[in-house]
């Protein structure tokens, strides 16, 4: 499989600059309970307006749930999530999310992009540049569900970018992909970040976290165990949990 060609993708519609943006993010005392089980509790988090935040932590720490809460896919049972004082629907609409297992429509590759462009009332002419951006232009007519894992995830990324989000969430988007596919996706993420899209991603891949992160949030047992700048976190994690995790020891 060849790497994605990173062509420049420049959205035709300019974002309204007078509109105050979603960031910075303020999370206070966030709690989530699912059927009597407490999944997240007393979680505080502040995210700066720019950059790429990597959320790490052992399986079951609550990373996916936190992403879904931040994106507004589920409602917290306690606490507040403040995205620049925006209403919940507006928050979700100005963000996009790429899931671990891409959910592709039973249509062609191109039609998967068209679907989002139409839903967001964006010009369909952006489709080809988006596909080219993720190296899938030559597959525009293929059935989307016939794509390989890496191609499918690139399509999911292109679809997420089609809505011109201010914030892009990725939940273990490169887990189970080969190194070339991981590289292709990381390049697209870095490009998006450089264009000012706020990236918040979950990964278990420490190498990837080092390559992408500006800051790292380490979750453990439904709480933030540590939140530090990437340049401090990797050489010198402060929390015992993060230290054990980075050393490949099981965290309890």
């Amino acid at each position: 499989m060849s790497n994605a060609q990173i062509a420049t993708f420049s959205p035709t519609a300019q974002r309204v600059t007078t509109d105050p943006c979603l960031l910075p993010l303020r999370v206070r005392d966030l709690g989530l309970k699912c059927a009597e089980t407490s999944i997240l509790h007393g979680l505080d988090l502040d995210l700066a307006p720019r950059g790429c935040t990597v959320i790490m932590g052992p399986n079951g720490a609550g990373k996916s749930m936190l992403l879904k809460l931040l994106h507004g896919l589920i409602q917290p049972t306690a606490g507040r999530i403040e995205w620049g004082g925006k209403s919940p629907t507006e928050v979700t609409a100005r963000q996009a999310m790429v899931f671990q297992k891409p959910v592709l429509l039973r249509r062609s590759v191109g039609a998967n992009i068209d679907f989002v462009l139409k839903a967001r009332r964006k010009p369909l002419t952006q489709r080809d540049s988006l596909l080219e951006h993720v190296g899938l232009l030559h597959k525009a007519r293929d059935p989307a569900r016939r794509l390989s894992g890496g191609e499918a995830q690139r399509l999911a990324l292109a679809r997420a970018l089609a809505s011109e989000p201010e914030v892009l969430f990725l939940d273990e988007a490169t887990a189970s992909l080969d190194p070339a596919s991981v590289k292709a996706i990381e390049d697209i993420i870095l490009d998006a970040s450089a264009r000012g899209i706020r990236i918040i991603l979950v990964t278990h891949d420490i190498g990837q976290a080092k390559r992408l992160a500006d800051d790292v949030v380490f979750l453990q047992g439904g709480r933030v165990a540590e939140h530090s700048a990437a340049r401090d976190f990797f050489p010198n994690p402060q929390s015992p949990a993060a230290r054990d995790y980075l050393n490949g020891r099981l965290v309890f």
């Binding site: 879904k68 629907t89 963000q95 996009a96 959910v103 429509l105 039973r106 249509r107 059935p143 016939r146």
Partner: protein, 226 residues
């Protein structure tokens, strides 16, 4: 002799077959127009009493054709509430009866199909902030192959039923005589050749519908659209 009738292109025979197809295809189309959106809406909605609605939909799937025929008859007969329309003993009455008969089947089966698909898409759709309308149309389109199969199942049931069309159509020669009612009549009259010829055609249609379903499934699977 029955085969000869089919091959020789007997005019009466083909009139009957033509009307059968016209009535049942129209009923199928109407039932799909009603059943697909209803099935999709129930599939994606959560409301109090939903369980009861599901039970009702499944129960209506098993409506006996004669009961449907009787109910439509009561409404369309001279003294009935819709008697002024003068529809009794017309192909329109037969289409109405068959639509009522198979719309619940189409709705219940498509509800299941759409609900399964929605379970897969729901989170992604919520992330895209789709309206209810956009969700329904997207689900209907993405379930198109399964829904075609559902439609064909409805058509199969419509074209093979006799109870409803005989009550509201009256089996009038050159007007409301369809394959099933003609078979019933000709058999009782002892004209087994015509009855057999019609039976043969009905069988071929049933086989054709099944072959179409199979073909659709295969082509959908090839493109990973199921």
């Amino acid at each position: 002799m029955a085969v000869q009738l089919v091959i020789s292109g007997d005019a009466d025979l083909f009139e009957i077959v033509g009307l059968s197809l016209r009535v049942s295809l129209s009923a199928t189309l109407l039932a799909c127009l009603i059943g697909f959106p209803v099935g999709a809406l129930v599939a994606i909605s959560r409301f109090p009493g939903r369980g009861a609605v599901l039970v009702l939909m499944n129960a209506l799937m098993g409506l006996p054709p004669v009961v449907v025929g009787l109910l439509v008859y009561l409404h369309l007969s001279r003294s009935g509430p819709l008697g002024f329309l003068g529809l009794l003993y017309t192909p329109t009455a037969m289409i109405i009866a068959q639509t009522i008969l198979i719309a619940p089947i189409v709705a219940a089966l498509s509800r299941q199909v759409i609900e399964d698909l929605h379970a897969e898409y729901a989170e992604q759709f919520r992330s895209l902030c789709l309206s209810r309308m956009q969700t329904v149309t997207a689900l209907l389109w993405d379930a198109r192959y399964s829904l075609l199969t559902v439609g064909l199942a409805g058509f199969g049931r419509a074209v093979a039923e006799v109870g409803a069309v005989i009550i509201v159509g009256g089996n009038i020669d050159h007007l409301t005589r369809v394959m099933t009612t003609a078979i019933a009549l000709e058999t009782s009259k002892g004209d087994l050749a015509l009855a057999l010829a019609l039976g043969l055609i009905l069988l071929v249609i049933a086989l054709g519908v099944n072959a179409a379903v199979q073909g659709l499934r295969m082509s959908a699977r090839r493109q990973a659209y199921v």
